[in-house]
């Protein structure tokens, strides 16, 4: 499980650069000859323009390379140069608030270099190497440190303290450490001498890590704390823990992106990594436009101050799309190792799988199901396995929750990407086209979705929110399931044929659906619903059910269905989280007295 750094793996054993010659170009795939000695997944520079590529297959002297930039205009005979490194991300202060392409090139500075359109062959360093950061060391000379240890920190944004970690492969005694002060990412802030090998390692504010290798940890733990998302259907019915995995499959227009963005905005993670993988350019612009102005409901700070964005829009090179999710998850791991709860959204993993398929097709590999390569399932599970709640090398607890959107063709969940994703993720939020076309948002189908974490999270909810949280949730779910069965009967014989007790179930389920499950992601208050408010809202509806049930037989259902209190219930979601306690008491009192007056 322990990964090795790229430097150790690559530059150690080989002397000199390997240069080969292109013999074939087909879209993003280039074949070069004379590449003997090149390593699998080594990064290469293609042609005189220096396009970035990665070796994905080796056949004798020939290396097959996927190129992360448009290959138009490249000719056979052009040179290919080895770089001695694998595809890596640069980790250090300045990452937060950044927007990067699939291979971590900063789009903001690419704009400065190439204007409004992205030209190719642009080489911009991911992090700003001019900027000085205020570094506060937390260790002393002579201290013994292991890989992953924290040697100091930088206040990167008002909410994120960037902890500087010893690279995982380095350990020994600190032979020097700088004083508190301002340093750039390239300044050496400490030197660690290994007692056994005598090797001295310089530690800078930034380090590199190969994206295809997961960063080492001490151990994985069972997730047991929920990631509070502020979305009622998720937190109440299908919760995901910090360190859990979830899949959101749904056809187009069912609300995948809105759901992903809501999660990125309101979930109580410390760091958000948002990967726009093969999606719309305007969507990324939307994130860039809204995040800086939106405030985290807990810290009150702009959301951008805890967010990293990876954007490979659908018209950007397809090979970089394949890399984008690894770039994202490696950045997530880095912050996890600092002891943070990271939430990673990948929208959409289907585009990533299609990129895999496209490249596989160009390699003329034997296809598996629907043309996807046979290794689709293993790649997907490798990716999701990088989630988890862990004890990092320095003993701090961190987590990565991965929430992957899936875009099944035709909304058909039986296709390979959805099916293989469901095999590895433990939460399934099924987006339903029928709900979406009724403008029931979020369009998460309550009967099809599931969370396998319910048991693990039960304790937390009953301790932190309310003793009867789980009971309420079960009761509401049973009503919704009954409604489904009753609806079938109604479709056949009409509602009048049902006894009043069952019609009351229909009435209350409708309230659960419309007044609880439906949530407006764009409403100033309703967008985020605290778990306390969720509990009270559900409690109000179920109290209504209980009180109404007592009256049945004495009072006709029509009268109950026409009660005034229903308007209050319908509007309760618009009431502020902070003062909902008062509203709750108010509604309950009003409800009791209205029921009482009907009794008389």
């Amino acid at each position: 499980m322990v990964g090795v750094t790229n430097k150790k793996a690559l530059s150690g054993e080989r002397k000199g650069e390997i240069t080969g010659k292109i013999i074939k170009i087909s879209g993003p795939v280039v074949v070069a000859s004379g590449m003997r000695g090149i390593l699998m997944y080594e990064l290469v520079r293609v042609s005189e323009e220096g396009l970035i590529g990665e070796v994905i297959q080796i056949k004798g002297d020939n290396a097959i390379i996927q190129v992360y930039e448009e290959t138009t205009g490249i000719k056979p005979g052009s040179v290919v140069r080895s770089t001695g490194a694998s595809l890596s991300v640069e980790l250090g202060p300045g990452i937060i608030g950044g927007i990067y392409d699939g291979i971590q090139r900063p789009l903001l500075r690419i704009k400065d270099a190439s204007g409004d359109f992205i030209a190719r062959g642009i080489n911009v360093r991911p992090l700003d190497d001019k900027k000085k950061w205020h570094f506060l060391p937390s260790i002393n000379k002579g201290d013994k440190v292991e890989g992953g240890a924290i040697i100091g920190s930088i206040r990167e944004t008002s909410v994120v303290e960037h902890r500087i970690l010893v690279p995982p492969s380095v350990s020994g005694v600190v032979s020097s450490i700088v004083k508190e002060g301002d340093y750039t990412i390239d300044d050496v802030v400490a030197v660690v001498k290994n007692g056994e090998t005598g090797v001295e390692s310089e530690i800078r504010l930034s380090q590199k890590w190969s994206v295809r290798t997961s960063r080492p940890i001490r151990e994985k733990r069972d997730p047991s704390i929920p990631l509070i998302t502020g979305m009622r259907v998720i937190d109440t019915f299908f919760p995901i823990p910090k360190g859990g995995t979830a899949a959101i499959p749904g056809g187009f227009g069912t609300g995948k992106t809105v759901t992903q963005q809501s999660l990125a905005k309101w979930s109580d993670a410390d760091i958000i990594v948002y990967i726009g993988c093969g999606e719309r350019g305007n969507e990324m612009t939307d994130v860039l436009k809204t995040f800086p102005s939106l405030k985290d409901p807990r810290s009150g700070k702009p959301l951008m101050e805890r967010t990293v964005i990876i954007a490979n829009t659908s018209n950007m090179p397809v090979a970089a799309r394949e890399a984008s999710i690894y770039t994202g998850v490696t950045i997530a791991e880095y912050f996890r190792d600092m002891g943070y709860a990271v939430a990673l959204m990948a929208d959409s993993t289907s585009r990533w799988a299609e990129a895999l398929r496209e490249i596989s097709g160009r390699l003329e590999e034997l296809p598996g199901e629907e043309g996807y390569p046979a290794y689709l399932a293993s790649r997907l599970s490798q990716f999701y396995e990088r989630a988890g709640r862990v004890e990092s090398l320095n003993g701090k607890e961190g987590s990565i929750s991965i929430i992957g959107a899936v875009s099944p063709p035709g909304g058909d969940f039986s296709e390979p990407v959805t099916q293989n994703t469901l095999r590895v993720t433990k939460v399934f939020w099924a987006l339903d086209k029928n709900l979406a076309s009724r403008r029931h948002f979020p369009g998460i189908n309550w009967l099809e979705s599931y969370s396998l974490y319910l048991d693990q999270l039960e304790d937390w909810f009953s301790k932190n929110i309310a003793e009867d949280w789980n009971k309420l949730r079960e009761q509401a779910m049973i009503l919704l399931q009954k409604e489904e069965n009753l609806q079938e009967i109604v479709q056949l014989v009409g509602p009048d044929a049902l006894p009043e007790s069952e019609r009351l179930i229909l009435e209350v389920s409708k309230m659960i659906r419309e007044d609880f499950l439906q949530q407006n992601a764009f409403h100033e208050v309703d967008a985020f619903c605290s778990p306390e408010k969720q509990y009270k809202m559900l409690k109000i509806i179920l109290t209504f059910y209980e009180l109404a049930g007592r009256l049945l037989g004495n009072v006709p259902l029509e009268k109950i269905a026409a009660m005034k209190i229903k308007t209050d219930i319908a509007r309760m979601k618009e009431h502020k989280n902070e003062t909902f306690d008062k509203k709750y008491t108010e509604i309950i009192t009003k409800m009791q007295s209205e029921f009482k007056s009907m009794e008389e």
Binding site: T72, G73, K75, D116, N282, V493
Partner: protein
Amino acid sequence: MARMEYNTIREVAGPLIIVEGVSDVAYGELVKVVDSKGGKRTGQVLESREGLAVVQVFEGTQGIDVDKTKIKFTGDTFKLSLSEEMLGRVFNGTGKPIDKGPEIVPEKTADVNGEPINPVSREYPEEFIQTGISSIDVMNTLVRGQKLPIFSEAGLPHNQLAAQIARQATVLGQKESFAVVFAAMGVTFEESNFFMKQFEKTGTIEKMVAFINLASDPTIERIITPRLALTTAEYLAFDKGMHVLVILTDMTNYCEALREISASRNEIPGRRGYPGYMYTDLAMNYERAGRIKGRKGSVTQIPILTMPQGDISHPIPDLTGYITEGQIVLGKELHKKGIYPPIDVLPSLSRLMNEGIGEGKTREDHSGVSNQLYAAYAIGRDLRDLVAVVGEEALSENDRKFLHFADRFEETFTTQGVNENRTIQESLDLGWKLLSSLPEEELKKVKVEHIKKYMGKYVGKQADKKD
């Protein structure tokens, strides 16, 4: 450097030719092909190896032989000559003038494949475009810089609708230079003629650039036609500051051409024989819509596609829907009832609507009215199914109101004349009129104060009080 001319074709298959013994051929390079009779064609390199190149010929390969046909690699990618003179002109699918006018004197040339707009440079689209069509303006609002396709079926009036949008589209309170770029791929002469006549009639023709590939023109040409249109649109928008509406019809024909090339190359097919990279390829076209910070113009796209057998899950509409910012779906049922435009609002969607509507843009009540109409219409439509089984008598009083609401919605709100241009206020008021037939406590999606302000019966009352 003088480029070599070759006559070493080894193989001709479908739209592709394979040339041997070549050197220094760039991937994506533009190729001139001269057939044995001296006819000139253009092509593009799809694969380049040492000593071998695969070339797709845009005009098709009919009449090409292996001995006499000459191939010249130009060393350049496919570039389009651009100038403002293009306005009012008609070109064929590969960009040659077909209106008997002179060649274009280029002000600049640009690669037809374009380059991706950097997401950080994009300006989020939020300027409301009034199309004058209620079911678009209120329910699926179009904004500047959006790509909003029309999903249609054979036999539905999508062309009339697209032409009506092109005629009526305005941004409220602004007089700015606009242009229409029209690309036809594999359409019949009548269809193409219909558009041209429409534009002529309204004087739009002066402000229009057309690229026409007819059904009888070579299939392969269709690959390049939308790229020419979008390159022109980007030039007019971002260099010349115009607001450009691009109509692409019919994208289904474009995708068929893509499939044809893929099959000729013996590629491993994805769904239904379409190539695995169709998503990326479509995105390269559709994503060329938008606005750029600090530049005046915009590119708004309305691609039209006919869904084979009306199947929205067919790969073409499906992949399109994943890229575009919503879709306008036309329904056969509505058309059969004689409703024009037969826009089925339930599966239709505009993703950029939220930012383009509301106070100061359309009207404060817009979002609420739209959501309420949707929800009520959806309930009404469901009840129709129920009525088919149990009869209307079995419905409650309330349900019957929704049932009738759905009918009236189609008859008065969706239905409008081919030349009827409704303002957004008229459309919203029409919505309120319909909503007033429903019980007020059912109107949960509109704000209470908006009910008091806009619903007919209250509007009257408030006026009374003032007297």
